[in-house]
């Protein structure tokens, strides 16, 4: 492993207002000043943006400089002497504030920004109550045409932060300056509506506006900034794990923001994180437990009655053996909840059948990476993606599904990195990429084999790295011998030269990283695909350094944590094997109870078979919605109906909940304490910003109550104590505690109290000593298009919604943008079928039929269609036959051949 060279960080010494300050080269005067608590006013500065120097508030005097310099842009030099608060600069600052107040409206009493307005702060600080030149208000029309963004150009101070964040951070450019001189305004191109100009509704422009020119439209007049309670927590949507600041007032969530410059997200948020949390205020929330009555209807019940009924039903099933119960944990629940649930399954219910929603993707990544590299997780960190020279994105729609992580790829692109995207569709990141390999669905293993074959044939492999750190190259080489680059190209439907180019670019990079997600794992060869990606990185030595790695992007907020916690049928917390007697003993001693069944249990995919075979009779489903998420909606529905007893624990009455005997109302993620583990293995705190709605309760509490009803003697007063137990049961978490997680979290492995966590895995070698190459044998997908089903339908997520829409479809901030699934069809296919954008189509596969609105777009290639998975009205899983990866049983949810016709 190439040791990270210990570069001695040079430090500079400067003087700020007479105080000696140490700074590093490249820092700005502003950064150096703020690092020692010297405050310099700024309006156009945002640490996420390049220095701009427009507002002139941060002017400071630097000895030897001809004129005052903007602190936001001036770089520190050794021996620099800086004065930040001289009469001269104070006079200039006051002048700027006076100029701004010569036109800025003083409508602070009704301005959303009041209390969180820099101009207000500085006018106060500098004692500017009016301008010496009178007040000359502007008279631009206000605009409210975006569902979430309200705009008042008359308050705009033209700092350009909205313009710059959209361009520099988002890589888009919805905003720009229009006109010149005093008539300059910020506007969209040709004054079009925001939604018409590539806006992704991230609200980043609002987040950076220092005054009240851009506001969150949906929270207007809800609460002043000083009235709200603010709570820092972790977003519950995707696995990037953005830090959110929840503002609540009178028991309601008012608004969500990021803290600029903080968290893995550096203060950035996506559309879901910023506008998608208001589902917690939804009137559709479950407020009381529901129990199916004699009439067969779900009726409100007391907690006591509901828990009694649940315990009774599960206990009854347990009588015919623990194996007759299956438990499904959730990648959306906290670590503490997953941990308790698997402990309950294994020790209270006595069943080995514990699995989670992570099965739908992350489980394959975990298994594939563990088998080759050692750790089943993203090898590197979000922050170091931008350090890559080459980024290979495969099966990951990063800018839509992991939008804030995608910003790192955009940043890398802006810095000159090359990005290769392998993806059938022309996704947003594919459009931005240096090269887009539009491969046929399900041929990822062929592409990767072709690339590796070319690397080996051309001698581009990193021989020293392979010799020192790996085993099994010959087996890989042997497995690749059957497939030429040309044959791979044939299978993928792309030119062989493109495969060779991609291989050469990747192998030739000083540091190359791989990003992959469910596009790779939700396939019949999902496990193989992951192994092949690990092989590719091993072959070229792209592991163990910043900017390299095999980076599995987990889907749901806590998919990684659910796996870490042992919500897996074959592994105990901390990925310890059930046949490892030593490990079992240690876990049992922490738990103080026996693991009833030490055989590997069934995955959720296999549980359905077992229900059909009458082996499983009862199920406890927490925070998952298999009716919409698993393959073959009718089959899943039938299986769940067949169960003797079903308990579902949810925020809303989901499609799965409707089939349950007992429905337990859970508190939302902002109503409970806990931790999430994000995709980069960072364990972060989830904090309670609101009390649980009505009678709902946090999942951990419900699980504990049910366990106690079933005979457990658990007495966890709060999630903190559960976490303390996790630290004892999970070696990778051994060094963590709530105290240590308080500021920004820790990345596992973190094995002792003085361990700072691990940003880059394998920097000091592989856990097993050496990494293992896995042979890669490409097998074409079992289902191919034919004359009956001529179009390959792909499924996936789109930017605005999340998984089965349980939450996102109840968030007005999101449904106002998109509230239906649209079937993307290529113009070449649409025309002969008589389909036009907006028309309704009937989509039929060999297992089901749905109707969907059509969107004709070249984003999908000819012969391929795409349907998002979030919408019950066009539920993609209805069409999917039950097929899964042979090894890890991750269902092949990504592609199915269909027939598309005009509906009617």
């Amino acid at each position: 492993m190439a040791a990270v060279p210990e570069t001695e960080e040079k430090t500079l010494t400067l003087t700020i207002n007479g105080q000696e300050v140490t700074a590093s080269p490249g820092q700005t005067v502003l950064e150096a000043a703020r690092s020692v608590g010297v405050e310099i006013p700024t309006l156009c500065h945002d640490p996420r943006l390049e220095p701009y120097g427009a507002c002139r508030l941060c002017l400071v005097e630097i000895e030897g400089a001809r004129a005052p310099m903007p602190a936001c842009a001036a770089k520190v030099n050794d021996g620099m002497v800086i004065h930040t608060n001289t009469d001269k600069v104070r006079k200039l600052r006051k002048f700027v504030i006076e100029l701004l107040l010569s036109y800025h409206p003083l409508d602070c009493p009704v301005c959303e920004a009041a209390g969180d307005c820099r101009l207000q702060d500085y006018a106060y600080e500098y004692g500017v109550s009016e301008s010496p030149w009178g007040w000359h208000p502007l008279d631009f029309p206000t605009r409210d045409d975006h569902p979430n963004v309200a705009r008042n150009p008359n308050r705009c101070i033209l700092c350009g932060r909205c313009v710059r964040i959209c361009r520099e951070v988002m890589g888009i450019g919805c905003w720009g300056f229009s006109n010149r001189g005093y008539d300059t305004i910020i506007d969209t191109p040709y004054n079009m509506r925001l939604e018409e100009v590539d806006c992704v509704s991230c609200g980043q422009c609002i987040s950076t506006c220092p005054v009240g020119a851009l506001n969150m439209k949906r929270s207007r007049h809800e609460a002043r900034h000083w009235q709200v309670n603010k709570t820092v927590t972790t977003c519950g949507y995707c696995a990037v794990g953005c830090e959110q600041l929840m503002s609540t007032f009178r028991g309601r969530l008012v608004r969500v923001s990021g803290k600029i410059g903080e968290g893995v997200n550096n203060g950035n948020l996506c559309v879901k994180g910023r506008f998608g949390m208001d589902y917690v205020n939804s009137t559709e929330r479950l407020t009381v437990p529901l129990v199916r009555n004699e009439a067969g209807e779900l009726a409100p019940a007391s907690w006591d009655a509901a828990l009694a009924r649940a315990a009774e039903g599960l206990a009854a099933a347990k009588k015919s053996g623990g194996k007759s119960i299956a438990v499904l944990a959730s990648a959306r629940c906290t670590n503490e909840e997953n941990y308790l649930l698997q402990k309950m399954a294994r020790t209270v219910l006595g069943t080995p059948h514990i699995d989670s929603g992570a099965r739908l993707g992350q489980a394959a990544a975990v298994a594939g990476l563990r088998s080759t590299l050692g750790y089943g997780a993203m090898s590197n960190s979000i922050a170091d993606i931008a350090q890559s020279d080459v980024i290979f994105v495969i099966g990951a729609n990063v800018t839509e599904d992991h939008p804030v992580l995608g910003l790192q790829v955009i940043r890398a692109l802006r810095g000159g990195a090359r990005v290769i995207v392998a993806e059938p569709r022309r996704t947003d990141i594919a459009k931005r990429a240096t090269a887009h390999l539009a491969l046929n669905p399900g041929t990822d293993a062929a592409l990767l084999s072709g690339m590796m074959r070319h690397i080996l044939d051309s001698g581009l492999e990193n021989k020293a790295f392979i010799a020192e750190h790996t085993d099994g190259l010959e087996a890989l080489r042997e497995s690749l011998s059957g497939l030429t680059v040309e044959a791979a190209a044939e299978a993928c439907g792309i030119p062989a030269a493109d495969i060779r180019d991609a291989a050469e670019v990747y192998a030739g990079a000083a540091s190359a990283s791989i990003l992959f997600a469910a596009g790779v794992t939700q396939q019949e060869q999902g496990f193989t695909n992951v192994q092949a990606l690990a092989d590719l990185a091993l072959l070229t030595g792209n592991l163990g350094r910043p900017g390299t790695g095999v980076n599995a992007l987990s889907g749901q907020a806590n998919a990684q944590g659910a796996c870490d916690m042992g919500a897996l049928p074959d592994l105990l917390p901390g990925y310890r094997a059930l046949d490892d007697a030593e490990a079992v003993k240690q876990v049992e001693s922490v738990w103080g109870s026996r693991i009833a069944d030490k055989n590997p249990g069934k995955t959720v995919t296999e549980v359905l078979d077992a229900i059909e075979a009458d082996e499983i009779k009862a199920m406890y489903v927490v925070g998952e919605n298999p009716v919409l998420s698993d393959a073959g909606q009718e089959r899943v529905r039938a299986a769940l109906k067949k169960l003797g007893f079903l308990v579902v624990q949810e925020l809303f009455l989901s499609e799965t909940g409707e089939l349950a005997d007992v429905v337990l109302p859970a508190a939302s993620i902002v109503e409970r304490e806990g931790t999430f583990t994000n995709t980069e293995r960072r364990v972060q705190r989830v904090r309670r910003a609101l009390d649980p709605v009505a009678d709902s309760m946090p999942d951990w509490q419900i699980i504990q109550m049910l366990a106690r009803r079933l005979g457990a003697s658990w007495e966890y007063p709060s999630p903190q104590e559960v976490f303390a137990e996790i630290a004892r049961a999970v070696p990778q978490y051994a060094g963590m505690s709530y105290e240590r997680l308080e500021e920004g979290g820790l990345q596992w492995p973190c094995e002792s109290a003085d361990d700072e966590g691990t940003a880059v895995l394998y920097a000091d070698g592989f856990p097993e000593g050496k990494a293992s190459f896995a042979p890669v044998n490409y097998v074409p997908p079992s289902l191919q298009t034919d004359t009956a089903y001529p179009i390959m339908l792909l499924t996936g997520c789109e930017r605005v919604h999340c998984s089965t829409g349980t939450r996102s479809s109840r968030a007005p901030g999101l449904t106002g943008l998109i509230n239906r699934g649209r079937l993307e069809v290529n113009p070449n296919d649409a025309e002969p079928l008589g389909l036009a954008s907006g028309s309704m189509a009937r989509v039929t596969s060999e297992v089901g039929t749905i109707g969907a609105e059509v969107w004709v777009t070249p984003q999908v290639p000819p012969g391929v269609a795409f349907l998002p998975i979030h919408f019950v009205d066009a539920a993609a899983n209805t069409l999917l036959p039950a097929r899964a990866d042979a090894v890890v049983k991750t269902p092949a949810l990504k592609a199915v051949p269909v027939r598309i016709e005009v509906a009617g």
Partner: protein, 629 residues
């Protein structure tokens, strides 16, 4: 250093085989064309054809027998724009060439010129503006000038590279490539004392050295020519681009060689279509002749120039805004540092010079730094082109050695004030500069000396004002220009100049208040100190100098509601002196709002309620009967 083994000295492809008997040169700069030069040219072609004696021979066509035929050349501007259309007629008798220049030529005059001068051999004396044999008062215009930058303007056909080469063009580049190292080139330019002619006056050689020494991540550097001449009243760059485009290219190539750039951009404002057209033609010809492009003249030095059209923003003359505009962004100045020499276009080391500076380069290389430095004054060496406009008898382009006094330029070259009116002020350096009164006219044309007065050399605009110009209104005009052209980025410039403009506006309207002058001074000082770029940093200069030298006029406006120049409409009343009025009706016909009544041959009168104070009657009256107070 370039490989010189294959170096080819540029020679005209088609040298002139013989001298036509009559040569006609017509000024076809923008000014000439605007005055009707195209019609004059057609009239000459048609008129000469009718004579059946002087068949027109295109200069580069080979069918010319010595001593017969005529040639017509469309040249660039020669600077004496007040007299456009200018036509040179050169005749050869007994081996002696004689050239006279006709001024304000119209197509109607052409027949007479052909008949009497070309056929008859006797010039039309009354129309001559320049002639060696019979000097006119206009000869003074050139006598005090020294033309280095404008050496070819008006003499060569800018659309014919052979004309340029015949005059020694591209020999400087040849000299550089055949043995000078980059450092030697930079030394030569440094030694010449050339300073940036765009206005800032930074030593060109030093700029080149910075760019040469800067490291580029991928070796790429850029050399940019700034042709975004935007100052109202400045047009010397346009004339050079229109009249001598190859000199600029040659200067760029030499500069590119010196700093190690293989790519250049020439950024020209789109309002200069003729310049752009001629640059395109010239660039194509230069490529064809191997003096531009890959392996120039057979050396291993390659230099490619792209022509980039501006989109109408004054601020794009600021170098960082200009680079942003080339990159496709809205032209808005960026903070410096980093300076372009470190991180400029596409974040690569970049050098930017103004057109006039670059046009000096071939001359310096060919004639030596010493020859350039021998001209000039103190720390300002060589010559500077000024654009003389306003209330001056001979408006046009004047290239003078640094160190002449303003009085020399305005009176000797410019011929003094029109209509014998009194000189009031000269606005130096456009909207970034300022105005100087009569008592400052002995100031020398010198960067430091002019700076000390509060004005600048700037791009070289000299707008002369007479007693009819109001100094407050003029300051307001220039500020209105910079305010409208502010990019909007920084607060002091965008908002501060607007507030100043409002103050000046109310002073001109007679609504000025006690303390307004102090408010203006305070705003000016803060705007200068606080602005991000030089546009804002210099925007208050016209106001500051106006207050400095003409404070009493501001006070008159504010306290007495009086505009002594009669230019501020709100402060003027027009009336008719009954005794002087002849009732000729000229004034009432000129009045756009029918404010003047009166029978023919009867005394007229002005209804001041209706009068909009446009001054049209005042201009029209030949009897000094329309008065204003």
């Amino acid at each position: 250093m370039a490989n010189t083994t294959a170096l080819k000295k540029p020679e005209p492809r088609h040298p002139r085989l013989g001298v036509p008997k009559v040569e006609i040169g017509i000024c076809m700069g923008t000014g000439g064309i605007a005055a009707g030069a195209e019609d004059v040219l057609t009239a000459f072609e048609e008129g000469l054809a009718k004579t059946e004696v002087y068949g027109i021979i295109k200069p580069r066509e080979c069918a010319c027998d010595e001593g017969t035929g005529s040639s017509i050349t469309a040249t660039g501007c020669r600077g004496m724009c007040a007299m456009d259309v200018l036509v040179d007629v050169t005749t050869h008798t007994n081996g002696q060439a004689r050239t006279v220049t006709y001024g304000t030529v119209t197509p109607a005059m052409v027949e007479k010129i052909i008949e009497e001068h070309i056929v008859g051999g006797e010039p039309v004396h009354k129309w001559i503006v320049l002639s060696a044999e019979e000097p006119t008062s206009h000869n003074e215009f050139y006598e005090h000038q020294e033309r280095l930058v404008l050496r070819h303007c008006g003499h060569v056909d800018p659309e014919d590279i052979d004309d340029y080469i015949e005059q020694g063009g591209y020999l400087a580049l040849h000299r550089v490539l055949s043995g000078m190292s980059a450092d030697e080139v930079i030394e030569e330019v440094l030694a010449s004392g050339l300073r940036g002619r765009g206005g800032a006056g930074f030593p060109t050689g030093l700029k080149w050295r910075f760019a040469r020494n800067a490291e580029s991540p991928d070796g790429q550097k850029y050399f940019i020519c700034n042709g975004d001449e935007g100052d109202p009243g400045a047009f010397m760059d346009r004339s050079v681009l229109e009249g001598d485009p190859h000199a600029v290219f040659e200067g760029m190539a030499i500069g590119g060689y010196a700093i190690g750039a293989s790519e250049g951009y020439i950024y020209v404002r789109a309002e200069y279509p003729l310049a752009i057209k001629r640059l395109k033609i010239a660039l194509e010809q230069a490529h064809e002749r191997g003096v531009m492009g890959d392996n120039i003249m057979g050396s291993d030095f390659s230099f490619h120039i792209k022509i980039k059209e501006g989109a109408g923003a004054f601020v794009c003359g600021e170098e960082t805004a200009l680079m942003g505009s080339i990159e496709g962004r809205r032209g808005m100045p960026n903070l410096r540092p980093p300076y372009p020499a470190e991180s400029g276009l596409w974040k690569r080391p970049t050098n930017i010079n103004n057109v006039e500076s670059l046009a000096c380069i071939p001359w310096i290389i060919s004639n030596g730094a010493d020859a350039f430095a021998a001209r000039g004054y103190e720390k300002s060496k060589g010559t500077k082109v000024f654009a003389l406009t306003g209330k001056i008898n001979r408006s046009g382009l004047a290239e003078v050695p640094m160190g002449l006094t303003l009085r020399d330029v305005i009176y000797n070259i410019g011929g003094g004030i029109k209509k014998g009116k009194a000189f009031k002020a000269v606005q130096m350096g456009g909207p970034s500069g300022g105005c100087l009164p009569e008592r400052m006219l002995d100031t020398h044309v010198d960067y430091e000396e002019l700076d000390a007065t509060g004005v600048i050399v700037g791009s070289g605009g000299m707008v002369v004002m007479d007693e009819d110009n109001c100094i407050v209104d003029t300051a307001r005009y220039f500020l209105e220009f910079t305010q409208a052209e502010s990019c909007g980025k920084c607060v002091p410039c965008r908002v501060g100049t607007k507030r100043m403009l409002e103050l000046l506006g109310r002073i001109c309207e007679g609504k000025g208040q006690v303390g307004d002058i102090e408010l203006l001074l305070e705003l000016s000082e803060n705007i200068k100190d606080g602005s991000l770029c030089a546009l804002g940093g210099t925007a208050p200069n016209p106001v500051l100098t106006a207050i400095k030298y003409f404070r009493e006029e501001f006070e008159e406006h504010i306290y007495e509601h009086k505009c002594r120049a009669g230019a501020c409409a709100a402060l003027v009343t027009y009336y008719i002196d009954a005794e002087a009025c002849t009732g000729c009706r000229a004034c009432s016909r000129a009045c756009p709002v029918q404010a003047i009544t009166g029978e023919k041959k009867q005394t007229h009168s002005i209804d001041s309620e209706v009068c909009i104070r446009c001054g049209a009657c005042y201009e029209k009256c030949r009897f000094n009967a329309v008065r204003r107070k």
